[in-house]
């Protein structure tokens, strides 16, 4: 139920400037400065997109399902964090952690209750089921939390940093740091732990994995948990800018674009795709027109799908498209 697509880093949230708006200060900036500013913003957006794209990829690899409720995990992360902070009066770090955990549990419940009965269904049915879940999440949040934006304070309030001539909001640094941390953690998990290796094996071949004694079902559950947690991390990092029940949709779609741009089912691709999409979109919005910002991402998506459906990276995905 996409109402008006909210602009990225929507309304609310102090200290956010609109690039591409025709106010005096942005006109005074010379072109190189503007370009640098677009890059900084683009990379920050890219971090968020990359996290969401990773979430898509993890679920796609383990179940061959595109989870259209991925954006809702982002929204749920922000909403739960604000609830733990505002109403349970916990500190920011604890509420962030608890929010991620809660959303991970929601993701697991979604797998057990809804995805498992649909394992043998057609692609359309599965897509519609996850769309149903996303509508359900949105409806629930609207009923419980209302139609208002939910906020938490900025993680470290203060003047924005300056990066050469570009303005770098403090929260942007947090977003990038959290995104990189999450990616690093995930990488370590996949490379160093037995469970991580088992998940990789399941993604490669389910039958063979179950033959060597891996519990495939557990791995699918785990992948939903991780995917939801990644979305919630993105949501928590964005929470100071405010989020409400329908904010997640746009993030989900952008993350989806990123996952496809990088090549569906490829972790590195998802990360690269996220950053590429973030930067290109920001440049396009700044240099062409900010009202076509969404259209630009989807033009990139279509271009990639039509010319290089295996993604922009030079990695063989094995699947014929």
């Amino acid at each position: 139920m996409l109402k008006k697509p909210p602009s990225f880093f929507g309304k609310g949230g102090g200290g956010i400037f609109q690039i591409g708006s025709s106010n005096e200060s942005s006109k005074l900036m010379n072109f190189a400065d503007q370009l640098l500013q677009y890059l900084v913003n683009g990379i920050t957006n890219g971090g968020i997109y990359a996290l969401i794209a990773l979430g898509f990829t993890i679920i796609y690899k383990s179940t061959d399902i595109i989870n259209f409720a991925q954006g809702e995990f982002v929204m749920l992360g922000a909403v739960f964090m604000s609830t733990f902070y505002q109403h349970a009066h916990m500190n920011l770090a604890v509420s962030f952690g608890l929010a991620v955990l809660t959303v991970a549990i929601i993701g697991i419940l979604m797998e057990v209750l809804m995805i498992r009965p649909l394992q043998e269904s057609s692609v359309v049915t599965q897509i519609m089921a996850t769309i149903g879940a996303s509508i359900f999440f949105r409806g629930t949040v609207m009923v419980i939390w209302g139609r208002h934006d939910q906020f938490v304070p900025f993680f470290s309030p203060g003047e924005p940093y300056r990066f050469f001539s570009a303005i770098l909001d403090r929260q942007y640094v947090w977003i990038l740091a959290l995104a990189l941390l999450a990616m690093g953690g995930l990488h370590l998990f996949y490379e160093k732990t037995l469970y991580g290796k088992a998940m990789t094996a399941c993604a490669a071949n389910k039958k063979a994995s179950s033959l060597v004694g891996i519990n495939v079902q557990t791995m699918v559950v785990l992948s939903f948990g991780f995917s939801a947690a990644l979305g919630a991390i993105a949501g928590g990092a964005l929470a100071p800018f405010g989020m409400k029940y329908d904010t997640g949709v746009t993030y989900g779609l952008k993350g989806f674009c990123a996952a496809i741009v990088g090549g569906l089912g490829n972790n590195v691709g998802a990360i690269v795709g996220g950053f590429v999409l973030g930067v290109v979109e920001e440049l396009g919005a700044g240099l062409i027109s900010s009202s076509y910002k969404n259209a630009i991402s989807f033009c990139i998506l279509l271009a990639v799908l039509l010319m290089r459906p295996q993604g922009i990276l030079f990695i063989r995905s094995g699947e014929r498209v």
């Binding site: 359309v124 799908l305 459906p309």
Partner: protein, 328 residues
Amino acid sequence: MIGRILEKIERIHFLLFALLILALPLVLGRFDAGDYYISVLVLAGINSIVVVGLNLLMGYAGQISLGHAAFFGVGAYSSAIVTTNFGLSPLLGFALSIGLNAVIAYFLAEPILKLKGHYLAMATLGMGMIFSALFSNLPITGGSEGISVAKLHLLGYVMNSRDLKEINYYYFTWIVTLVLVYLALNLVDSRVGRALRAIHSSEVAAHSIGVNIAHYKTQVFVLSAIYAGIGGSIFAHYSTFLCPPDFGLNYSIRLVTMGVIGGMSSIWGGLLGASILSMLPQFLDIFAECDILIYGLVLILAIIFMPQGISKAIGGCWKKIRQGPVIR
């Protein structure tokens, strides 16, 4: 022989359905809120047209589209621009709506329909998002402020004037719907319909027995776009005001939902799904704030318990009843 009988049964179904539709306003007219029900039924008719077209594409040919609101929007805006901006006859609006959609769909079909499964879903979704950005930014569509549309004048009648209380528009919409449904029913029983089903079950097999896959996919894509365009034009004259959110992702997804819930692989399923989901929000009004939540829940449950759609579920029950209890 059996084919002939089945054909007759199908025709009888259609005739009964047409009679029901034509008689419904006579019954509803007796209720206090009859006008309101009729206006809901007009919307159901409009959605039915689009969903029947979509079912040809998704249920029969097996090609997903999450962007059909784009064609619906192109149709609606064609009618709006022709009648409002240029003051021309609404019939020209309908003609432009059909022509424009056919051309757009024809050129999009070849590259997009090469993709399969999730990739096709994503590409059509992207297509829909791009069109919806165009609707809300192009000067000719009135941008995000919207555009007003003249009422429909046909054969000297105003179809949706106040004193006629929607009845005229109800008949206009449903007669168009019935004609289009009849065409669709004939199409799926023809050589083309068999080719589409063959493509759905296996492209390789269909190709090997000489079905020109690209050709048929393009044809059915164009046809479903035309259906959506006609629906859009009728909607434009009915709502008399268009704004871009009506033609966004939200509507595309509702269309697919209608198809899935009703049953995608049948024309009747499309009609059923469109009618039920057009009326459902009106019933959910009593739940006030919870309506979105319940809508999502209904969707999930329907998909888990009736993955083939309501029409197939009813058909299955009917079969069981006729066969009687299973003796073990």
